[in-house]
Subunit: 81 residues, 8 copies
């Protein structure tokens, strides 16, 4: 089992905001392998706790599922052990 | 009483600028619980000093009032004690 | 219930290393309110998932229990919602 | 005499690029009080060396002249002594 | 009147800790021109709100008074307007 | 022979995404002097290993070839020795 | 095969310097799985290109071999694909 | 002619401070190729403007002359064009 934490920044402001942070939390809870989603205060807006069977699934989930959600601006993934 | 400092970056450049930094200062002064707004030099463009009755009001104010202002690109909130 | 994630950097190198990252993991698991400790790859070395009854317990745990462990060099705490 | 260094990031990519970095260099050389403009490698794309008679002129020049140039995405100003 | 915010990181861990964050708060309150000191959560450990008559007093206070306190590891000063 | 590593962040989210990270990898492999392209996890999305005959070719390749690819948002170049 | 890049900062200054950057380069070339070591300019001092048979070898090499070298102050590991 | 800017952080606090920032300014002015030294406010403490005949002299000056000064904790070099 492989664990990763994906730190996310989302677009804010009238021009770039797509969803509220609570909406992102709901959408991210449906992503494959997601164990928890937290709205956080600090450098990042949201943190996703992700688990997968193999290492190669992590970039696939991050790229195809998380980074495809409208309004997500930046992701930073930490592999965890 | 709960205190937080919200560090803000705003869009700049002809294509992404919505207001001047002085305009943001005025708009941010009207947000619930705001005790002070500073135009700063460094990693951030503006700093908001915020006070609320309970911890849960802080994410509500940051998300619903501050991050909704057009042209605000990024917020980073520091809880203070 | 109040949740926080504490990102930690520990001293490395012969001169400044006190424990291995696996040792820190064990020590941090014994801190009050700790739900999980992860060795991570990225800007930080370790991540602690913390829960407390009230907001004021968080700085007390971070300062008196976590930041007192020899070899911990820096902590960055994210409040979570 | 007050000195400041303004570190600048400009938009890149077909969708967000307005000028080349060489064009920005030329435009920035015409800003009030500019003593030098450097295209740099690292966290920032450009560095502007600025001098003004009083401290209050610095935010005015940064906001009204530098941050108004199309395609400038972010500025970070260091006061120098 | 010139305003600055000084963001501070202090040494942590048994080997490098000199005072508790509460002790630093007390010591920093006695520094010339200090209007407020906050223990914060995020990239920095403490924030100092500073006011001085002239710009030149700010580097003098930061260097001679704040950066001389044992255990202070790093300061990052934001001029405010 | 001059070596540089170019760290890249690309636009994500439905509104700003131009290509997948795998597509960027293919496009970047065709840039002058590119020895390797890696999809990475951390602060950056992609890393390009670049070699050139002279120092002056590096900013030319970075600006004219890499930063012109649609969807590239930010580059940070490290000269290597 | 699993690839990672380990970004390293080393101690500098008379009091904390253990080896020169050229010495670190030599020492790091002997670490298990190292394919290349670069002295770099920017946020980090050195970059190590690492390959291993399985994901679990990466934290073992980083912690037991790289972070044990005297004078290494900080490592930041990027998994690569 | 090759130009570089070296951003420097120096040790602070009673236990790690070697010289005052003004002393560092004097010492750095004597380094080969130095055109200017600035005490700055922001992420870094000092900025050095450096010129050399060839690219290879830059890492030599940074490593052998600048990083050898007692109390210098960290350098970040930006090549300039």
């Amino acid at each position: 089992m492989v664990t990763a934490f994906v730190m996310i920044n989302v677009g804010v402001g009238w021009l770039r905001k797509v969803y509220t942070r609570t909406d992102y939390k709901e959408k991210l809870m449906k992503v494959t392998g997601v164990k928890g989603v937290y709205l956080i205060f600090g450098r990042y807006d949201l943190m996703v706790h992700l688990e997968a069977e193999t290492l190669d699934e992590i970039p696939r989930i991050v790229d195809d599922e998380i980074r495809n959600i409208p309004g997500i601006m930046r992701t930073e993934t930490f592999m965890a052990f």
